[in-house]
Symmetry: C4
Subunit: 204 residues, 4 copies
């Protein structure tokens, strides 16, 4: 059964479903206040207590969306889904599914190092399988003329960028906690240079 291939459209539909459900379940982490809490606190106080929850919801939603967009970008080059691609994708989805827990843990212990490190671990694991998936697609579809060395490099550097920064954030959390929480901004700065470099080398 080695030459077996799978129905690409089902694999994609299934992945989209897991992404969308995990992203929607994030809202359950923002606890609905009890009647008692509402009647003894102003709305303002209730919302202020939930600022970490809202930050967690927005950051996790957008970061997961970024990985979904990456999935959207890389899967379009896929001609056939073999067993390796299928299982790399399933492991990627396993860590997407973990996001509602990691976000809830991170948000509940918002000022502590441990939960933030676990959150970075989850994002690194997604980043790792995202990278492995893209590397495998690039190798598998190398005969596709659209996949020039420039484009391949852009894909791999973009995937490595997110992976390395989240690992770095997790490590830095032990030494420079406040820097660690903002270092993800570097993803966008580095991406800017990856894109500029790509355009330059594309012209020549």
């Amino acid at each position: 059964m080695k030459d077996l291939t799978f129905d690409k459209s089902r694999v994609i539909n299934f992945s989209d479903a897991v992404f969308s459900i995990a992203m929607t379940l994030l809202v359950l982490e923002v606890g609905i206040p009890s009647i008692k809490a509402i009647s003894s606190n102003s709305t303002w106080v209730i919302l202020q207590n939930r600022i970490p929850s809202f930050i967690g919801l927005v950051v996790s939603f957008l970061v997961t969306a970024l990985y979904w967009v990456s999935h959207l970008r890389s899967m379009k080059y896929v001609t056939t889904v073999d067993a390796k691609l299928l299982w790399l994708n399933i492991f990627l989805l396993l860590f997407i599914v973990l996001m509602p827990f990691s976000t809830g843990f991170y948000v509940t212990g918002f000022n502590l190092v441990g939960p933030f490190v676990f959150y970075c671990f989850n994002l690194s694991a997604i980043g790792l399988f995202n990278f492995l998936l893209i590397r495998y697609i690039m190798k598998k579809e190398k005969s596709n003329p659209e996949l020039t060395p420039h484009i391949k490099r852009w894909y791999l550097h973009t995937a490595l960028n997110a992976l390395i920064i989240w690992i770095l954030a997790g490590v830095l959390a032990f030494i420079l906690p406040s820097v660690a929480r903002l270092i993800f901004i570097l993803i966008f700065v580095i991406q800017f240079f990856i894109n500029r470099n790509y355009k330059k080398s594309n012209k020549t």
Copy 2:
């Protein structure tokens, strides 16, 4: 990567999934009574206590459905999905995902101003991204002959209608709370005039 476009059918499937999950999660806000509550209260009392929850479920379900129908209407003109359209859509979905929380908050503090204002804020945010999405589609697909100035105006006015009324409801809640809760009926009245005006100008 500026000229990159995305798989329209996946973007649509993903959006439909987020809409459907958020709309189904609304039911979790209607708390299932405990055995103790059931044995010491009549079914009638239990259901009466849940009237705000049922109102919240029905209103949020139908209002979200309205935005989904709007998505259904506007996306059919889209030929290619570029990065801007993709991210406007992702932000729209972020506020769709917030609906189960806003509904639960609004319903728990049913008679208070604050939770209702937060609910209006959520609906306004959906309305805003719905409006921005439609405006961008109208601009992007302007070469489509089906998109006559009349139709474009109908789309933009319809989107603005919902957006403005929900902002108004949120503001009025501080001054005239009971009016604020019924003002959403104006959406249907104004829509009636938008439709009539559209048909008139279509004849000439």
Copy 3:
């Protein structure tokens, strides 16, 4: 905008998503026992306490599946989705979404009349919109040669069968509670005669 039609495949995908989510959320109603409950009770006792929950899960899952199969059967005749069909479908889905609450309520008050009546009400409401949807499709697609008077009658009688029996179950619950809980078996008996009658009239 009266002549507007909607993307049938999106409407169907969205409906399938709502059905599948509501059916999967039913499992949340079967509460996971606490560590304390597990260590002080045998597995047998824990499972016995959950018999109403398991009955509720299985019955609701299968009954909702029956309505989904009905949706599968009737939507294949639909050529275009107009606004009326769209909104009949959205109201059908609203009551599908209510099922996890109704099931949880019914199961928690398993021996009481009230929660069972509410459960019957929910199933009757689904049955009503299922009937209205099918009746509208039969009328709208009357030019389809496949829709012979015999087939139309079969569809309408099948839809009416479920609707009437669930209303009957809800009413009987006040008078003959134990009969009311078993009367749903009549659905299958009556369906047997509807099918036999259909085959007979088909031959002549």
Copy 4:
């Protein structure tokens, strides 16, 4: 209505949706620690307490994914979906939906026999309907030239393998509990021989 067939793509979409939702809901079983627990315990202790939950999440996710892959493999031979196939599939999905409960139960009573047996029961039930579905597809599509006796045997042996091992695990749990928990490794060993035998007989 005996010759009725159903829309295959809808049945597949619906199945994919149920699989993906059940697999994502597994994360809800990993309880988010309370603020109190986080402030009085180190992250390490909190994560250690959740080791059974993580094992449960990963095992259930991957085992359910295996059944999904099996669904992917067998459904591609299906030309038309008749009522029997449809209902075998619905019963398969019913037991997929039960997985978040079984996993939560198993994980909460991680060292006890009862919850593990229930977990094995659930996996056996999935295995049974998976086997019945595959056997029915093999019989129904026997005219397909791709379905050689070798391939059919491979499918049926693969399905029987998982089914028998999970039943065995459930029975052994009463006698040799520690062996029972590791016996699922046999699935992969036996699969290795099934595959080798398939390749051998394919050559001759």
